[in-house]
Structure formats: C-alpha cells, structure tokens
Amino acid sequence: MNRLKASKLDILIYVGPALVLLLGIVYIPILQTGYFGLMEWNGIGQKTFVGLENYFVLLQDTKFWSSAYHSLILAVASIISLVFYLAIAVILASRIKGANLLRKIYLIPMLLASVAIAQLWMKIYNPTNGMLNIFLMKIGFENPPAWLGDANLALYAIILPTIWQYAGFYILIYYAALKNVPESLVEAARIDGASSLQIATKIKLPLIMNVVKVTIVLAAVGSLKYFDLIYIMTGGGPSGSSEVMASYMYNTAFNKFDFGYGSAIGFFLLIICLVATFIIQRLTISDKDLY
C-alpha cells in the first residue's frame, strides 16, 4: 500500500481541524473535570482549592453509591436483555423471509429522540389515563401502581423503554454477524444431520462470540453513562429511587450549582467508563478474525 507523500502543511490542513475539535471539546474538558473536582465552586464565583476533599466526600456519599447501584442494575438488565436480542437475531438469520424488513422495523424506536420516547412512555405509564393502567384495570386489577411515581418501581419502569429502544440496535449487530458466518460451514453441518438448534448453538454462536463480547461491554458502558430517559421521566426521583450516576452529576452541577462536587462525580464516571473500555479491548483482541 503506497501512501501519498504530503507536505507538513498539507497534513496539518487535513488532520488539524478535526483533531483540534476533539482535543478542545472532548479531551481537555475531561482533564479539566478532574481538576475542577479539586475545587469548591458554584459555577459563577471564585474557585477555592480544596484538594481531594470532594473525592473523599464522594467515597462516603450514600446518594452517590445508591445512584451507582442503580446504574449497575441498569447495566445488568441491559446485559441480560442481550440474550433475548441474540435469540431474536438467531431466528431472523435462519432463512426467514422478510428478515430484512423485520430488522428495520425493530430499529425504529432507536432512531427517535429520547425526549419523544420519554414523553411517550410517561403517557403509557400515566397512573390514570395511561395505556398500561387502562389495560390493567380492564383485566381486573383494581389498584394498578403509579409506576414512575412509585419509589419501588420507577427504576424498573424506566428499564422497559430502554430495552424497547435498543432492541433493534443489538438485533441488527447480531444479525449482521450471523450472516457473516460462512454458509459452507452451515451447509456442511446440515448435511451431517445437525438440527437448526444445533447449528445455531454449536456453530454460529461460537463464531460470533467476539461480537457478543463487544456488545456486552457496549451495553454495560452505555448503561453506566445512561441519562436521557431518567432525567426526563423522573429526574432521578421519586426521592432518588431512580437516580443514576449521570443524572446525579447533572443535578448536582446544574440544579444545585455545586460545580466542584459535580466535576468530581463526572471524573469518577469517566474513570468507570474507561475501565469498562479497557475491558472491551482485552476482550476483543482477536476481533480481526471475524471482520
């Protein structure tokens, strides 16, 4: 492969603008977040250096740990739902007519604005006029729950639309991977008398394991930084029962104007996501085999 020779100026012209934007808007700010975490600061006035105090407070902040726990529940739920997505993709990839159309239909919710999804599901969960409770009352439940208004249920009520929202995304990825499995292998197994189930579990699944690993960590990292639906549907409530790390950070900084502490939370969130990313790279060393 011969690369074109270019002058330093030309390289600068082609690489510079995108790189400056990435450094200025993504990388420098994450360093600043760590630094601002060392300050006591309301966002407008003077910053006062307080050392690691915010970080020490964070380690003992029960509200933070409960939000981290909620993020973890979200991550576990989204990883479990991958099994379900994978099963659907396996079915879709097994000589189903119209598979292409179906996977596109599955994708639609993921293309919609999270605000629209959140507002739509708030209507579905509406205690008196929502579709869900109207249905529950029709089939005989006298006192259906308030869902988003119920501290025991709010977090789980938000998990459902996230599963709905991302279904098409993961099914699409699995479907593409399954279709990449060489047809000759499948044919050979079929001629040897393997059933469809055996072909799926013994031949196809092991071959797409690398993709599965990547999606596990994608789902985990995505859940750890999850924000939109929670912020819009419950704002983290009722009484913190659906607060996650990103919403706790946002509420601390932009609603309580504690920018120093908010920065410390933001930095912690970053570390957690990068650790998960490190795991991705460890898991996908042999990814090139497939693609």
Binding site: L22, I30, F254, L270
Partner: protein
C-alpha cells in the same frame, strides 16, 4: 455486506424426505414467524398509539378506549402547537444546527480519514486511537468544563456551542463509518493522478471525495439522526427560547401544556415525523451506518 444465499435450498430436500419432520418443521417455522411479528408489533405499537392520540381531543383520550380511532382527524392539534407553541422556531433551529453540524462533521471527518488512510505521516495510528477512545468518553464528564469555557468565550447560548460540540462528539463514529470504505478504495486512481501532476487537494476534492459519496450519505444520515435527537447539550448550553431545538423545546412546551394530551402528541409527532420519513426513504443506509458505526474498527 449482505450475503444472502437464501435461495440455496438444496439441503431442504433432505429434510423433506420425512414428511412428519416436515410438518413439525413448518409448525416450528410458523411459531418463529409469530414471535418475530409480535416483536415488530411491540416495537411499533407505542408509536401508533402516539399517532392516534395526537389526532384526538382530551375527551376522546380520557373517556374512550385508547385504541379507538379518532372520531375526526383533529389536525388542529398540529396547527395549534405549530403556531402557538414556538414549535416552528424550534423546528427550524433543529434543522439549522443539524445541517451545519452534519456538513462540518462530514467535511472534517472526510479530510482526517483521508489523511489517516492515504497520506504518509507519523502518528496516524495514535490520532486514530484518540478518536476511537473518544467513543467511550461520557458526554457528562465534559459538560461542566464546556459550560465554563463557552461562558468565558461568549459562546454560551450561541448556536456555535452546539455545532462545535456535535461535530467533535460525532467525529469518532463518523471516522469509524468512513474508514472501512476508504480502506477498500483502490489506490491506483490516486497514483495515476499524482503522475499526472495533481496536488493533494485536487486528489482529495476532485477524486477521493466524489468516490466516497455513498459512504458520505450513510455517515451524514447517522449524524443527522444523532444531532436532530440531541438533548443534553441544548438543555445545558442554550437558555433563550429563540435558540432552542425541538427536543428541548418540546420538553418546555409539555411542561406548560401538561394536561393537553392531543397537543403534546402533536409536538412529539413533529420530532418523530422527519425521522420516519427519512427512515422510509433511506432505511438501508441507516442500517449500514449503524452497523458500521458500532462495532467494526
């Protein structure tokens, strides 16, 4: 990408030897279809319900069955929110930010992908690595410093704060989508152009960029969807109503009209309809872009 040899039905003949097995096979197949179709209905049903109640008045919504068709199609909900609720302003703001950011992202993304895959320079692996790592960085970890910086340089409550942020944060996924296509492009045409005395800029703008039109379309659509739907940056950086986008504007509007479900439904439809139209026309590109922007690379 699509390797569909579904027409190769040769082994099916072997299965059909035993007619009993064939029957079980067919019942099984029917059950699988039923599962797939039920899931498709679940995916579409909330949107269908939304479309229904956006065309009803409160009486119909609260007193009649949720699945009843509207007694008459009340497009006045749409007209009302378009004229009274600032939705028109939000709508055009969304278009403006989306188009500007998509243009900038595609131009700069194409240039840097060209440099990474075509030009000879040290450090291209490191630069690519920086962009790929950028995919994993949570937006929330950058919000406070960005808010601080934009305030300091007068970009808070300014369209540029959004356009620049969208461009930077969508650059990694854009490069990821473009990269595969660039790597597959033959080098011979460029080499011939060099021999003919073309400059790097001529090669990029006259040869490479036009050749990558299909993947540019894919990347542009994915960017468009992300920008159109974006919420956190607008919610944080934009305070004046005239500059808000549809996503944040809807959120405010719903706060004010929380009891008028028909109007709320209509505002949500204004955010959804453009995406659905694009989906109907370009679903193949969207599928391709999401697949390329998620795992490979």
């Amino acid at each position: 990408m699509e390797i569909l040899d579904e027409k190769l039905n040769m082994p099916e003949a072997i299965v059909k030897k035993a007619s009993e097995r064939s029957l079980i096979h067919r019942i099984g197949k029917a059950a699988l279809y039923a599962v797939l179709i039920v899931i498709a209905l679940i995916q579409l049903f909330p949107i269908y319900w939304l479309a229904l109640f956006s065309l009803k008045n409160n009486y119909e919504i609260f007193n009649l069955s949720p699945l009843a068709l509207p007694q008459e199609l009340r497009f006045e909900n749409y007209i009302k929110v378009w004229t009274e609720g600032n939705i028109a302003t939000y709508f055009f703001n969304s278009i403006f930010y989306t188009v500007s950011a998509v243009f900038l992202t595609i131009l700069l993304g194409s240039m840097i992908t060209f440099a990474i895959t075509r030009l000879q320079w040290r450090g291209n692996k490191i630069v690519l690595g920086l962009f790929m790592l950028g995919l994993m960085i949570p937006i929330h970890s950058t919000l406070i410093p960005l808010f601080n910086t934009y305030t300091a340089i007068g970009l808070i409550n300014h369209p540029l704060s959004l356009i620049l942020s969208y461009t930077a944060f969508n650059m990694p996924v854009t490069i990821m989508i473009l990269l595969g296509f660039y790597e597959a492009l033959p080098h011979e045409i460029e080499e011939a152009a060099i021999i003919d005395g073309a400059s790097i800029h001529q090669i990029f703008f006259r040869i490479t960029l036009p050749m990558t039109a299909p993947v540019i379309a894919t990347a542009a659509i994915i960017n468009m969807i992300y920008n159109w739907n974006e919420f956190v940056f607008v919610n944080t950086f934009i305070s004046s109503d005239e500059l808000k986008t549809l996503t944040v504007g809807i959120q405010n509007f719903i706060g004010q009209y929380s009891t008028d479900w028909g109007a709320i439904g209509a505002t949500l439809m204004f955010s959804i309809i453009p995406i659905l139209i694009i989906f109907l026309i370009l679903s193949d590109r969207i599928v391709e872009g999401i697949a390329a922007g998620s795992i490979k690379g």
